[in-house]
């Protein structure tokens, strides 16, 4: 009885594990460049928020704030431009074309 149950359990496990092999499919799309840019954009936004908070709470001098704000705004703009360019490329790509992964 127990032997039969174990055989059933083994067969069920094997069927469950091996089933995907009969259904080949494409790898899920993942846009490394987009993720990197989104992360860079959020890092720039976070930096801008933090330097403003640090200035308002008296940790950052006005001069340093102005310098850092200019730098992170420039970084944010550059990242946004690259994200826009990526979106334009996506729209221009023919339907069904594989995205860079």
């Amino acid at each position: 009885m127990l032997g039969a149950a174990l055989v059933v359990l083994a067969c069920a496990a094997a069927a469950f594990v091996l089933a995907p092999l009969w259904r080949p499919g494409a790898a899920p799309a993942w846009e490394a460049e987009r993720e990197r840019l989104v992360h860079a954009r959020e890092a720039a936004y976070r930096a801008l928020r933090e330097i403003e908070l640090d200035r308002d709470t008296g940790k950052l001098d006005d001069d340093d704030y102005a310098t850092l704000r200019a730098r992170y705004q420039a970084e944010a703009v550059a990242v946004l431009r690259r994200l826009d360019a990526l979106a334009t490329t996506d729209r221009a790509a023919p339907a069904g074309a594989e995205r860079p992964t």
Binding site: R46, R49, T57, G58
Partner: protein
């Protein structure tokens, strides 16, 4: 039933090995269906481990003495709760718990990380399968939990009576949640190193998993300290025991990581350092399990002497070799993209903080393994003892406290000496006022005064940060103070969750300082009706009684406590004597925020006199309160913050608009 358990473990081992091979081959041949099959194999592993766990729990719950594990850990006189928790009371069961928790974590990680970053899936499957396969191999061949005997005894031996305590019922699984939880960050980082450069090396994905593991380790350490305090009856909660140290070391490395990962997140710096910390934390978790389970060091926790040591060390060496080999391979790709803007910045404070945490971790490691090293080199195991740890760790802990206070006052990226001087004035004044007040109150221990001054400084820093944040928010939004405070924390969960964790650590620090510096004790032998004074208390001994409970003879000393003229009521100190020769202590404990009155029944005489050890441990309750505060802070910090700016939103709208 034992056959079902054995079959499940063996089947799980085969499937874990299949998952390892299929993930590697699928990734190499770019066959996603093979990787999916490998992922499914890990689901099946989890199910089979669940079956094995159910078999063991059923055997424990039904007291099936045909299982050798049940004989060793269960007895008819033992309460059912402890029959069930003896699952992790022994080596075989605790390794099964390790494997089971790892499978749970693996499925969660595959679900979240695998979806967030699909290229990591093969590596994640391979690493988790590899670690699972090791533990399943141990369970199947080295320490099988389903060994049976043909002639089962009528009763079992039961667990070590010291383990029959609610704190011990939850301490090991909580600690294991932390230990095993460190596998996921390790798997994410190794998977990223295998799959190729991704900018962050998977470190940022690993952060939340590390935070969870850190929290579990924190609570596991706290539960263990509580158990030691109320059960072992020596008056303390931490003894620098090798196994305590084993859990502390990964906690220290994880703490360092949780600080340095913030630099990587903001500045794309320290990627290599963070990767190394993740690997070290995992390595120390395996090392900790090795220390706990091998019995290589004498410890209150080493209930076993076993052949596991060589296997664990071999596995640890292999894991570190592979991981550091991958780091070396990807070394150039892991370089920082930025450099420090200024020497005086939050980043620099965090770097120094990392150095101090690692210095403590290294010192604890050195002190812990010294008996092993000295035994190998000289043939004689030399224990370094608590003074070694105290002399090294206490000064570094003061340095960490200073950084806890100064760090939040320094701006990210760049700060000026003038702004730091301006910001530090108020918290420093608060610390100094506290110090003067303590001196005026007659506190003369310099170390304790310094510790409380620093705690006051750090607490004032957190308060000042909160007040300034509320003030800025009110100025920008016109909110009421309470609403502004709630919104401030809710919209900056990680920052203020972290500050709340700092407050919890401060309470812990105050508790440790108070109880270790100002503890008073005396040993007295009293006859019925006689009284002894300790601290502010007087304890009257009213007589001895005896009874039986759970197969033990219980001797109880009835006591009554007075503070001045006030009668604080009765309480009792007990000693339980077991037939096997073991004995346990039920401490008489009266706990208040000011101090704990802690009474141990040390002995008794035929004529009814009792020898009592009376202790007054100040501020111990602050430690346990610190654990609750850490929980609150960690929960707040773990709740995900919404994305700073949603797609399509204006790029930047000011500090108090984004993030809401």
């Amino acid at each position: 039933m034992a056959d079902l358990g054995r079959f499940s473990l063996f089947g799980a081992l085969v499937l874990a090995l299949y998952a390892l091979a299929a993930a590697a081959l699928g990734a190499r041949a770019r066959r996603p269906e093979v990787v999916r099959s490998a992922s499914r194999a890990l689901v099946a592993v989890a199910v089979l481990e669940g079956v094995a766990a159910a078999v063991l729990w059923t055997a424990l719950g039904t007291r099936d003495y045909s299982f050798q594990y049940v004989v060793s850990h269960v007895s008819d006189a033992q309460p059912l709760l402890y029959d069930l928790t003896s699952f992790w009371g022994g080596m075989e069961g605790s390794l099964l718990l390790w494997a089971l928790l790892l499978s749970g974590y693996t499925l969660l990680a595959l679900r979240s990380v695998g979806r967030q970053r699909p290229p990591l899936r093969p590596g994640l499957v391979a690493v988790c399968a590899g670690v699972s396969a090791f533990f399943l191999f141990m369970l199947a061949f080295v320490t099988p939990p389903f060994a049976t005997s043909s002639f089962p005894p009528a009763d079992g031996r039961g667990m070590n009576p010291l383990l029959l305590n609610p704190w011990m019922a939850i301490h090991p699984p909580t600690l294991y949640l932390g230990f095993v939880g460190l596998t996921v960050p390790f798997a994410i980082v190794v998977a990223t190193l295998i799959s190729g450069p991704s900018g962050d090396a998977g470190v940022l994905l690993a952060r939340r998993w590390m935070l969870w593991a850190w929290y579990c380790l924190t609570m596991g350490l706290m539960f263990g300290a509580k158990w030691s305090y109320v059960v072992l009856g020596w008056g303390g909660y931490w003894a620098w025991d090798p196994v305590e140290n084993a859990a502390l070391m990964p906690w220290l490395v994880a703490t360092a990581f949780l600080h340095s990962v913030m630099i990587q997140e903001r500045r794309e710096m320290l990627t290599r350092w963070n990767v190394v910390l993740v690997i070290l934390a995992f390595g120390l978790s395996i090392f900790g399990t090795f220390l706990t389970r091998s019995g290589v060091l004498s410890s209150i926790h080493s209930f076993t002497q076993s052949p596991l040591g060589a296997f664990f060390l071999g596995f640890l060496a292999l894991a570190l070799l592979v991981a550091f080999g991958l780091v070396a391979w990807r070394w150039d790709e892991l370089r920082s993209r930025n450099e420090l803007d200024a020497t005086l910045s939050r980043e620099s404070a965090f770097l120094l903080n990392n150095v101090l945490f690692l210095a403590v971790a290294f010192s604890v490691f050195l002190g812990t393994v010294f008996p092993i090293v000295s035994a190998v080199l000289t043939g004689r195991a030399i224990n370094v003892g608590p003074p070694f740890f105290d002399h090294i760790v206490v000064p570094i802990a003061f340095g960490i406290l200073v950084l806890m206070g100064i760090g939040p006052l320094i701006a990210w990226r760049r700060a000026s000496a003038e702004s730091l001087r301006r910001n530090v004035q108020l918290p420093a004044a608060a610390g100094i006022v506290l110090g003067v007040a303590l001196l005026a109150a007659g506190v003369r221990a310099p170390g304790a005064v310094l510790a409380f001054v620093l705690c006051g400084f750090v607490a004032a820093t957190v308060a000042v940060e909160g007040v300034r944040g509320v003030r800025v928010r009110r100025a920008h939004r016109g909110e009421g103070p309470v609403r502004a405070l709630v919104a401030l924390v809710a919209h900056n969960r990680r920052r203020y969750g972290g500050y709340i964790v700092h407050l919890g650590i401060l309470l812990l620090f105050c508790g440790v300082t108070g109880s270790s510096v100002f503890s008073t004790q005396r040993v007295v032998t009293l006859g019925p009706g006689e009284t002894a004074a300790v601290g502010e208390y007087r304890v009257r001994f009213d007589g001895l009684s005896q009874s039986t409970r759970g197969g033990a003879l219980v001797i109880a000393a009835s006591l009554r406590v007075f503070e001045g003229t006030r009668d604080l009521g009765p309480f009792a100190a007990r000693r339980s004597l077991y037939l096997a020769g073991d004995s346990t202590t039920d401490v008489a404990l009266r706990s208040t925020p000011r101090d704990d009155l802690y009474v141990i029944l040390a002995g008794w005489t035929q004529d009814g006199r009792a020898t009592l050890r009376l202790l007054v441990n100040p501020l111990v309750a602050w430690m346990w309160a610190g654990g609750l505060v850490v929980t609150l802070g960690a929960v707040i910090a773990m709740i995900p913050e919404r994305r700073a700016v949603q797609e399509g939103a204006p790029a930047f709208r000011g500090a108090w608009s984004a993030g809401e």
